[in-house]
Symmetry: D3
Subunit: 290 residues, 6 copies
């Protein structure tokens, strides 16, 4: 069960309203790498987890990410607070609101303001949050890797947002949130490697003849090599060929006579006559061109 | 520039049509962990990459994933081949098609069949593929971690799909595709660690006082400990409190007098009167209930 | 700040695994009327709310809805628990898993199982949750009405789900969750009517000549009347006409000469010649038809 | 059956082109609270409605909302008319078009212009309209409440749009559309309360011991009280506890021995060793850090 | 302005309820090729069209498609009518509803039923309708081609749906709707070719050296030829090479010294060391494997 | 199988960075008419195609479109190259980055930059690419028409993008890509008409009494006529009436007595009392209004 304390995990002191900055910060509220994505990711994993240690870890961090969602959302609301009054109450002189909102261009943040100058669950381009952002697969050796990567991405977005603001209160709170991603990433790394073995994920080992092969699919200029395709561990295939299984490289299926007959009927009906030279709609349309 | 060879990277031999299995395999064609997601992920990273080694690596694997997309799509098309003829040509006796398609339930795969029994870019529930599945952030130390995780997830989905089919040709081709994910994951691991340092990602180091703290946000039953929150590296906070920054834990912003006045006007207009005891619509609606 | 207690708000006792039922219950986990939608709705409203009473109310209920999300998710996970082991570990005899999963049809819940038999943030058809479900507008007299309606809908979905299960533990927990929606709806009704006046929402009163008119746009059989268009309050327009403003009912804009000239150029270029009688692609394609 | 009159319900006189304003108005064309959402909402409810009075009401208003969609779309098209010619015909001097379109920033409305300067079914941020906006549930006591709320929200968006334009013709037409939402809201209110009883919605009454309880989930600073949680009707729980059912607050399911065995196998395979102290990828990546 | 007649354009006589068939028919209600897509497509084109003939044509057909939306929706509602009562009223014996709904599998149509057994704006897999289905571009020589193709696709989906039902009333109504798509396609063909020239679309003619070239990008087995790449009109390039412009086939940009310096800084920071041979997370995870 | 050559099909020479232009070009990378849509469209059709000629044609063009995706993506990456360094490395003086990025407004392209200044799979408004853009139906006489239309639309978007840039290298590369759409359109036209007959698509001929009727659904001002509704081929219905089948224009279904009874129960429960005159929430809320 969740409980809530009306005080934030980190105090928010915003120097002055700035709807444009509010809009950028939406990335970490309702964006792909944002705190709702993080909280949802760990919370749903926690529900299904059978290992008591990981279950507790996941719920601890999910709960903290919810608290971060509240911090980032509170910053956004503060940055929009001035616009909120103007939008809700209008202004005496017609058009003043329009001028004040549109002074810096008719930007995507206006959409957010039209929705009441709160903190909507969209990214900075106005795209609604979607659970398609969450990549949980229900196998901890894969999910822990997904969590490590998610924390790494979130850390970077916070860093970029810190670089676009001068507001010291905003910068400091973002710095706290960014730092916590670093800590979470470390926890997930430890949790991944506390499972042994954890690679390859799952139970099936794969075909040994293909698990350490590197196919050089992109050619035409000098190929660059490195530990990812070089050394004793790797078989490097300079010129990859089709049909590595030794077959003919074609796809086939065994059909019943009835199915075969119906397909033949369809093929005959939609046969492409290679000898035709039709007058086409494009020819017709172009016929008056010089 | 891409070129195409009409032979597949791996030969596809399907024993008999099976639209239900085709539908499940759509997960790896147009699903979140599927081959289009993989190819798109690495291709877009390759375009923006400035390091020649990683650029070549990413384009090699992107091209191979496109070839895998072709293999999995070819399996799906073969499994649907019988249904394709029946749907396109109809049948003499009215209703036979309906009965043959609906014998095993009126399932989501029927939707796919309505679209022509090909290989649509949806997942196994019929949800269209979306680029929201791709989590590239443009910082290689984060993106390589995302790629490692993506390969881990794809490996697991292939394993699960192998477990639900008896068709030896399908199983073997899936086994090849699964194995290649293992190889790719290894390459991305090597490429990540060939960047030093790679943690924390980006340039900003974070606040040292919060980067090794673990907040025990989930309580109420026994807490489980492990290397993710235990040991010299960690400061474990048994009972996390709000306002870890030492402030009051509240959010504030400095408004101009004009903005303050408009907000006050709005607050007065929408004031919630705590002493009111209104008759509400629910009271009205419930008025005749016993 | 949020805190979590590892005990659920309501104990979950599931009689036996049932992945099909788990799939239906996803409606209230990651569906349009589900608990994530509810929690997100009230949480984002709470962040932006300036009235202390409503802010507290919204955060109280948001936190409870998160706790409900945990209860419904826990039921789903328990119902999927048997399938989880079978999917993760596979089975000795090839095909057994396939038969056990597909015995009741190859349904949409298989997609959910492919994702690890947890509790994904999708609805019962597998559609990922989207913030497009949330209709907050930032004006409390509108938002409270939206919340009342949302609780009403959620109550109904719980009722329907209770009707499709015999499992007493599931039924009882669903009954608790349904009942809480009733209580929340009452709270939001009271909060709406504690704002006076609350209709029409916002500040602009509208044109009095059109605010109590009813246009009978659908005709052709007997018109039904009732308090929604009958009585002293209403002006009933039997045969609505265009241009109720007394104009010509057309749309126009004043263009500069330069813009006018460019439009004329475009119109000339794409002129539709009413006197032409072209041979079209369709004619060509049909030319060999009997 | 629908019929169309080429004259609009309300005459549209636009003073001059303004693509930025056109873009904002898209909110009420292809946005969440817009006229397509309204028309679709009432039209689909009308189709399924069994009560003749409500069916007629819903179809009347659905048809009027379609007519409003035409009005708002016509305004948008007029505001874009100048840009349309410039985009379709290009300009002699290279770059003039670029400068004219980008003078006020490279905004989201450019996307709309790229699509031909018409009236696309997107919101003002360019997000395509989705039926996820529609919350119909097929129970009239819930749907009428949803309709009331939808009209309230649409009224507010029109009010905000009126505040950002000086164009008298646009302002007047928006005022008409806003006023009609007020009238529709009244009709739906009357239709809701013409059903008795209408609360709680549906048939199941809920558990009496939980239907008038208020859980004070958010604490930490002073709690605000009001008619929504105060008074004889309410039981106020100051410190909510888990497991209000009197159980242990845990989730459980009865598994077959076979399922239990497979789960145990999975748990053993993915066991998290609390005593391990692994060197992790993050440790490796950070190894050269000062 | 739209008006509505309560009689359908085509009478609907359904023999008996069939929720599974209702679900399939959703393709033409809220699916990609369905009537909402058709009506929206032509209606939005009509609003922006400057040619009086095409504008009238588009609005005529848009209005008819709305009337078709009503017909197909009415069929769906009738097919769901039996389920509607059972869902709304529940049943005496617990579980009977579950058994009656789940007899043929726990299918995607159950989701639709959970929403009240009406006619939701989803496709047959439950995916909400999206304006992403509409491809209008605002140039009539392109849009008419899009409309022709849309009618062709809709005709096919109706044909497939007719093949899966025995219900004579449903079949006849579907036959009417299918036939109207044929008529609309003819009208759009005539309207396209009444614009001369109509190919290539727009104003810019393209580079003559590339407009009639065919690149044989897919090789490896015998190439098939036909009028699409054979004959005097075509230059067939047997072995396509990169850099057809005669350049080096690489991408470059001229950067300022300051930008160059920052990029160099980034490259140095994220340099991939080709000589490293790191121990990676995968190595760690695999260390206990046999 | 696909192979890749590291040289582009067309050399890219960008004069200087321009993130705003990069953002517009995203339309042809991750937008509805862009190269990913084109490549995906033809590739999936090729997989399912049974006619060898069309299969080869589709794979040739799919492969070329992938090569175009690489060209357009490379232009975007070059245009963003300056911003990439600034974003990744930050700047010494706080706020400089903010000012440099926000000089021209806080636009949607900032979102793209936040994601690392690469080439994300979104359109120019930041909406993620979705397979809902692809309209393949699996019947070649329909799909070829869809392909013709898709090429026509893509040609237009390229033309519009050429009109908004002065950069000669970008303009030339866009000109090449635009020209290739013209060539592809011609090929698809030829391939369509090489199937005889190709109209109407599919097998069912439609009802002859409705296939050449034109319903004049939009009236009220002068009707425009042309070859699309005039001439010997057409029956023009001046005043269309409902129930063209001669029935009563109503929808009905035969229900079992049990289903009828349950529906009656529901109707009684939700009966709308036409004689009621309820006090509603709106009345209450408006009670203090003057």
């Amino acid at each position: 069960m969740f409980l809530h304390n009306k005080r934030l995990q980190y105090t928010v002191r915003v120097a002055e309203p700035n709807p444009g900055l509010a809009n950028l910060l939406l990335e970490q509220f309702g964006g792909a790498q944002g705190e709702l994505a993080a909280a949802s990711r760990y919370f749903t994993q926690a529900l299904a987890e059978d290992d008591p240690g990981r279950k507790d870890l996941l719920m601890d961090i999910a709960t903290e990410e919810l608290s971060h969602l509240e911090v980032i959302g509170s910053i956004i609301v503060m940055l929009n607070k001035g616009a909120k009054g103007r939008i809700a109450e209008g202004v005496e002189e017609e058009g003043e609101l329009y001028r004040s909102l549109n002074g810096a261009g008719n930007d995507s943040h206006i959409t957010s303001l039209l929705y009441g100058a709160g903190s909507p669950l969209t990214n900075s381009a106005g795209v609604p949050w979607t659970a398609a952002y969450i990549d949980t697969i229900g196998e901890p050796t894969a999910d822990m890797r997904s969590n490590i990567a998610a924390e790494a991405r979130a850390k970077i977005v916070y860093e970029r947002l810190m670089n676009v603001t001068d507001d010291p209160g905003v910068k400091e709170a973002l710095g706290f949130l960014m730092t916590r991603e670093i800590a979470h990433q470390l926890s997930f790394e430890k949790a991944l490697h506390a499972i042994q073995p954890n690679f390859p994920q799952g139970k099936l080992p794969g075909m040994p003849e293909f698990s350490h092969v590197y196919f050089n699919m992109s050619q035409g200029t000098e190929d660059k090599r490195g530990p990812w395709n070089e050394g004793d561990a790797w078989e490097f295939v300079e010129n990859p060929l089709p049909a590595v299984d030794g077959g003919d490289g074609l796809a086939s299926v065994q059909l019943s006579a009835e199915d075969e007959a119906r397909l033949d009927q369809m093929k005959a009906r939609t046969l492409s006559d290679p000898l035709s030279d039709p007058v086409t709609g494009a020819d017709l349309g172009a016929s008056k061109q010089p």
